[in-house]
Amino acid sequence: MATPNRTHALPATVGDLLRLRTIGWREALEAREASILAVLVVMGIALGIAYPQFGTLDNVDNILLAVAQVAIVGVGMTMVIITGGIDVSVGSALSVCAVVVAMRIQDGAGIPEALVVGIAVGAGIGLVNGLLIGLGRVHSIIITFGMLNLLRVVSFKLTGGKWLTGLPDTLNYFGSGTLLKLPFAWWIAMAMAAVATYYLRRRPTGRHLYALGGNAETARLAGVAVLKRTIFVYTITGALVGVASLVFVGQAGQVVQTNVGYGFELDVIAAVVIGGTSILGGKGTVIGTLLGALLVGTIRNAFVIVDINPLWADFILGALILLTTALDLLRRRGRET
């Protein structure tokens, strides 16, 4: 193939956008991050004018808090989808981690122990996913779909179907604490995103993830350790679910139920796909996912503010996923021909 595949070589990020001269206007307009940012700004201004309560700092905080977990897990999900896989078990995994963490702090565990336990349980779940997908060579949707249901049962059995009540406020800072006016959970998300961006753009093994998603067979022949990278991305996603579970328990306050994280996978996958990561693999950025998470949060919040039946929200998110996937593929085809 004579045409270089630009999408693999240089995914434009906000950083590139700030240096517009180096990447050119066409690319800036094409970058998904720019379009989401534009949509966010337009939506924000329009809603802010029409509904004054939308633009208040409290409400912005609400949006940020509501999607902090989506952003954290989205960082891992971006890597999974870049390799051409998907993980629909994150909602159930969040529920298992949240239940375990909640039970630990009920027994008086501190933040360090909760963090270690949450990450260990999440990473363990992710490792199982990765091993089954990598070693068993089964498509990720089948394995994680099975795990979605198995993990639901695990979290149900852990609590015996009862609610965990009277939790201490050990993790409140993770849930709703702020640092420099920004929710602490978002600092975690941004730190994770920064590390992941560096890894994906600069480290050889990070570039391997794009190669894997572009063409797994070619990547293998070129020396990419397919099995290792596969296990790695699912394990990282699981570990991030563990981190997110601390945020969840912190926000839940005193009560944790077993139906935690029901439909969580939709929000995460929506954030990643809307953020410009190609569902076919081989293309995507973590910054886009963070912006995608903000958009998902703003949409869900707008339903409440404008007082539309929130049951519509899933419909709109589903439609947005379809629309952005269609745009992405159309653009790809436009370049190929």
């Binding site: 068993g136 060579r137 089964v138 099975g146 379809l322 996937t325 593929l329």
Partner: protein, 334 residues
């Protein structure tokens, strides 16, 4: 490549032919599993091995069984085709059916016809995005899973529609101990899908498409139409299930199909349908349906917490997917 390392000749173990038969002929494996399961339950669970129980349990097989056939038709077309939206499509079609019967006072006949058309439309939405717009089936049907469910809840405000015409419930009555929907709906659907896949040109195109889409196109098979049609058929079957479910529950529920996609996909994969496409047939899928139905039935009778059924089915899905993947690679079936 100058020196080719000779592979150690594989020692033919005495049981190799038997193993090969079990891994390649899914029907053989399933019949043995089914025999073992029936023997186990018959000896441990009281009231299991009675005609009334076995015949009665087929009422539950109708719904998941038809959806598993829908998955078969879709998955066989390959290129990662799968329909995750079947459960939500059942919910939305039930709600549509219920609204026609109550709010619009339609009589049963026209309502059934319109619901079937509506199912065809829902399937066509998936089919349009997958076949015409060429988006991956995984993301399309994941999106419609949530979209259809959301619509079903919005339309009914999350309240089931009852007071359906009593004549509808006749469908869920028994004929000599056998549920009517098994005889009047399930068996004809099995026969139709069997004939469609086995004896029609269109059905053979589906397999051709799943085996090698490019070759199918060069063989002048209508690739886009065939793929579109597979999803449309899946939607139509969802509408059939919606009508049966409404009759069995005596109400049209916005959550009628919740979780059915897991069972449907599990049955299809257990029935040997390869997720890579081109492999799968009706008889093993039907046997897998009976197997899953009896697993659930036996657990119910034994008084085991129903939550374990969800775990069992999730485990069976993963296990049989691993088995399929292993068998396909070992015997180079695809």
């Amino acid at each position: 490549m100058t020196d080719v390392v000779a592979r150690r000749p594989r020692v033919e173990l005495p049981w190799a032919p038997a193993l090969r038969l079990l891994l390649v002929e899914r029907t053989a494996l399933l019949v043995i599993l089914l025999g073992g399961l029936v023997a186990f339950y018959a000896s441990t669970v009281a009231d299991f091995f009675t005609f009334n129980n076995l015949a009665g349990s087929t009422a539950f097989a109708v719904e998941v069984g038809i959806l598993a056939l829908a998955e078969l038709v879709v998955i066989v077309t390959g290129r990662g085709a799968i329909d995750l939206s079947v459960g939500s499509a059942v919910s939305l079609a039930s709600v549509f059916f219920g609204e026609l019967l109550t709010k619009y006072d339609l009589s049963l006949g026209p309502a059934v016809v319109l619901t079937l058309l509506f199912g065809l439309f829902l399937g066509s939405v998936n089919g349009f995005f997958v076949a015409v717009a060429r988006l991956p089936a995984l993301i399309v049907t994941l999106a419609t899973l949530f979209a259809f469910r959301s619509l079903a809840l919005v339309i009914t405000k999350a309240v089931p529609i009852s007071d359906l015409p009593p004549r509808l419930y006749d469908l869920a009555l028994y004929w000599h101990g056998i549920p009517r929907q098994t005889l009047l709906v399930y068996l004809p659907v099995i026969a139709l899908v069997y004939v469609l896949l086995r004896f029609t040109v269109y059905g053979r195109h589906l397999y051709g498409l799943g085996t090698n889409a490019l070759a199918a196109r060069f063989a002048a098979a209508p690739v886009v139409f065939a793929r579109f049609g597979a999803f449309a058929i899946s939607g139509l079957l969802c509408a059939v299930v919606a009508i049966v479910t409404s009759a069995r529950f005596a109400s049209a529920r916005p959550d009628a199909g919740t979780g059915l996609e897991l069972q449907a996909i599990t049955i299809a994969v257990l029935g040997g349908v390869a997720i890579t496409g081109g492999v799968g047939a009706v008889p093993p899928v039907v046997i897998a349906t009976i197997l899953i139905t009896l697993v659930n039935n036996g657990m119910n009778l034994a008084g085991i917490d129903p939550i374990w059924q969800q775990a069992a089915i999730g485990g069976i899905l993963i296990g049989s997917a691993l088995l399929n993947s292993f068998a396909l690679r070992r015997y180079r079936l695809s």
